[in-house]
Amino acid sequence: MTQAAPQPTTGLLSTLALQPARESVAVLETYGLTREYGPVVALAPLDLRVDAGECLALMGPNGSGKTTAAALICGLLEPSDGVAEVCGFSIHQEPAAVSARSHLAYVPDAPALYDDMTVSDHLHLVAAAHGVAGDDLEERCDQLLVALGLEERALFLPTQLSRGMRQKTAIACALIRPFSLLVLDEPVVGLDRRSVDVLKGIVREALGTGRAVLLMTHSDAFADEVATRTLHIEEGHVVER
């Protein structure tokens, strides 16, 4: 397991007002988090703890349960059993889930974007929805778009973008807003080498500024470079710590 050296490199996150995790609680904690589809156990009881400044890589082959775990942790799926808490707030119980979501930025494996909004609209929407649409919003948008090579595509709709460009838009949406936990589900699929390097820098910067990162991937190379801890998962079960 490779220990990453967390240090700010991109400057993309430095202007954002970070919402720090509450004292004495982990950024992410799950207890017995389970998901079953009838007799099929997609995720066996999962107990995790990720602290500030830590990048946990959840690794495994296709169909091992990584995306199910990410969707459960981010509140997209309801658990069959167990609890997931982000900065001490349950992601599945309203109204606590609102606070949990304000701490959580998620880049899903299939970019979640509105078909009728441009790349630039998405950044403005997310920033405003999280209360950070200040005077410097345009500058931050431009900074992110340039860093991710999206500046020429700012006025494009998602349907007019390639898979990689949509992935970059989803990443930009996650970064334009403050967060304590960044969940990246297969983030490098479809990305060019330059963008992968930028993403590595972003992860390192996030760790260096007290945030936590949960990474779902089957790319050993990417995980080796950024993760501080690795878990392997197969058939829904954690097989190695």
Partner: protein
């Protein structure tokens, strides 16, 4: 190595033979039986009502005829911008059209069949129209002229549609010129109502008029001339079809195949929203209104801001919905005691609200997106989507009430009560439309199961109730509320009690909407 298209098609037929002769015979038998039964019924009706109907139609045949033919032509051209007369399946696009086979050989049989079919339909329609126009069977020449005009028009429509299908730039121009063409249709209607020069100008203004010249009683020469012009164009169209059959791009066929497949899948799964989306996405790549709107700093305004962006980028929908909503409120206020006005106004207002809620439908299409991008619960996002349509309808409704009062359409005794009722009426309509829209277009399996298990045919009622239940509730509540305004001894007391009732209903609907989950 090039392969003969005819051989490929023959091999394909051999591998996928299609229907047997017996199956074709069965289909023909059923068709003949159906046509025979329906024909007998129609003939009976015709004997009773024919002369009356002829008398009714005859004075309007040119008024209706030329604009009608023009609009049919426009509809065919619009259809060709996203589908057209020649289509292949996605599998054909992947395997057949990418094979080293001359494309013209694959396209021409379909193009020819479409032209012949539409020509036949046109000829039959022309012959029937000749009879309906009073050209007696004894004047066989007149009927033949009518049939010939229909045949030529059918061929011409296929030829024009094909050019739109194969040339993307032409398709874009068809879309751009649709509104001016609709205005022209209005001019044709007005021109048709005049006598003398105006009417002649309409009849000679283009193929849509030439096709009607043979029906122009008392002028055989102009009929033949129109037929000659139309025939010449049709022959030219046929030649262009045969010469350009191979010149449509694979990209065009693939896009249309994808759209068709998605629409058919939507129809089979009874998902109206999927059909609408497939149709809409077929043109989204060509049309995009580029507009930016300053993002609000207040987080509660973010979702309405997104809605405003969507509506401003679809100005036709915005204008149409606002006009419909304003008109509906005016109708309700102008005659609050009349059942026709209550029903028409309520239905129109519900439709306007539903149309303005398109951003909410987009949210329901991809419910996971708001979970990833926005900090609020799904139900709250849906509720926030209702704010902008409500504000729009309240503003246009206020303007309509004020304008109607100034113009004397709304009585002075009613106008104050109408203003009191405006907000609760709009709230109920928008929230009910939102509750209906949040479900998407697909009928849930539970409803299908429930309706399928009903042996006495009540299944259709169950599905209909599911589909329009919220609409019925809102329309009934608003109609009763507005009726109270019109029937109460003092309009203000009726308005206040109706406003209280509708406000309570709106609060309940809001609670249900906010409790929505994905």
């Amino acid at each position: 190595m090039s392969v003969e298209a005819r051989d490929v098609l023959a091999a394909r037929r051999e591998l996928a033979p299609g229907k047997s002769v017996l199956e074709h015979a069965e289909a023909i038998y059923i068709a003949v039986l159906t046509v025979g039964i329906l024909g007998s019924i129609l003939l009976g009706v015709w004997h009773g009502l024919g002369p009356f109907l002829l008398d009714l139609i005859r004075p309007y045949r040119v008024i209706v005829g030329v604009p009608a033919v023009f609009l049919i032509g426009l509809a065919v051209l619009r259809f060709s911008t996203w589908q057209g007369f020649v289509s292949f399946s996605e599998a054909d696009c992947a395997h057949l059209l990418t094979a080293p086979v001359p494309r013209a050989g694959l396209v021409w049989p379909r193009l020819r069949n479409a032209a012949l079919l539409l020509g036949f339909v046109g000829a039959a329609t022309g012959a029937v129209a000749s009879l309906a126009a009073g050209i007696h069977m004894a004047h066989l020449g007149g009927v033949v002229q009518g049939a010939a005009a229909g045949l030529a028009l059918g061929l011409l429509l296929v030829a024009a549609g094909w050019q739109v299908q194969r040339l993307p730039r032409v398709a874009v121009w068809v879309l751009r010129l649709t509104m001016p063409a609709l205005v022209l249709a209005g001019v044709l209607v007005l021109g048709s109502r005049t006598e003398g020069v105006g009417r002649q100008a309409v009849l000679w203004s283009g193929p849509w008029g030439w096709a009607l010249l043979p029906f122009n009683a008392g002028n055989r020469v102009s009929g033949l001339a129109g037929l000659g012009l139309l025939g010449t164009l049709a022959v030219g169209g046929w030649v262009s079809l045969s010469r350009t059959a191979g010149s449509c791009s694979l990209e065009t066929f693939r896009a249309r195949a994808r759209t068709r497949a998605r629409m058919v899948a939507g129809l089979y799964s009874l998902d109206s929203r999927a059909v609408v989306k497939a149709r809409r996405e077929s043109r989204s790549a060509r049309w995009q209104v580029r507009l930016r709107l300053r993002v609000p700093r207040h987080t509660g305004l973010v979702v309405p801001w997104r809605g405003a962006l969507n509506l401003l980028r679809s100005p036709v929908r915005l204008i149409w919905s606002a006009a419909l909503g304003g008109g509906a409120i005016l109708i309700l206020a102008a005659a609050p005691g009349r059942p026709g006005s209550l029903l028409g106004g309520s239905v129109a207002l519900y439709l306007a609200a539903g149309s303005l809620l398109e951003p909410l439908r987009l949210e329901a299409d991809a419910p996971a997106v708001s979970r990833v991008l926005l900090p609020w619960s799904y139900g709250k996002v849906l509720w926030l989507h209702c704010l902008l349509p409500a504000v729009i309808l309240i503003v246009v409704g206020s303007a309509a009430l004020a304008g109607g009062w100034a113009a004397g359409l709304v009585e002075g005794s009613v106008v104050a009560g109408a203003f009191v009722l405006l907000i609760p009426v709009v709230a109920v309509m928008v929230l009910a439309a939102g509750l209906s829209a949040r479900r998407g277009g697909g009928i849930p399996t539970s409803i299908l199961t429930l309706s399928g298990g009903d042996p006495v045919g009540g299944g259709v009622v169950i599905i209909l109730l599911w589909a329009v239940g919220w609409a019925l509730l809102a329309i009934a509540a608003v109609a009763v509320g507005v009726y109270a305004l019109g029937s109460s001894a003092t309009a203000s007391s009726g308005a206040v009690s109706a406003a209280v009732g509708l406000s309570t209903l709106a609060l309940v609907l809001r609670r249900v909407l906010v409790a929505s989950s994905r």
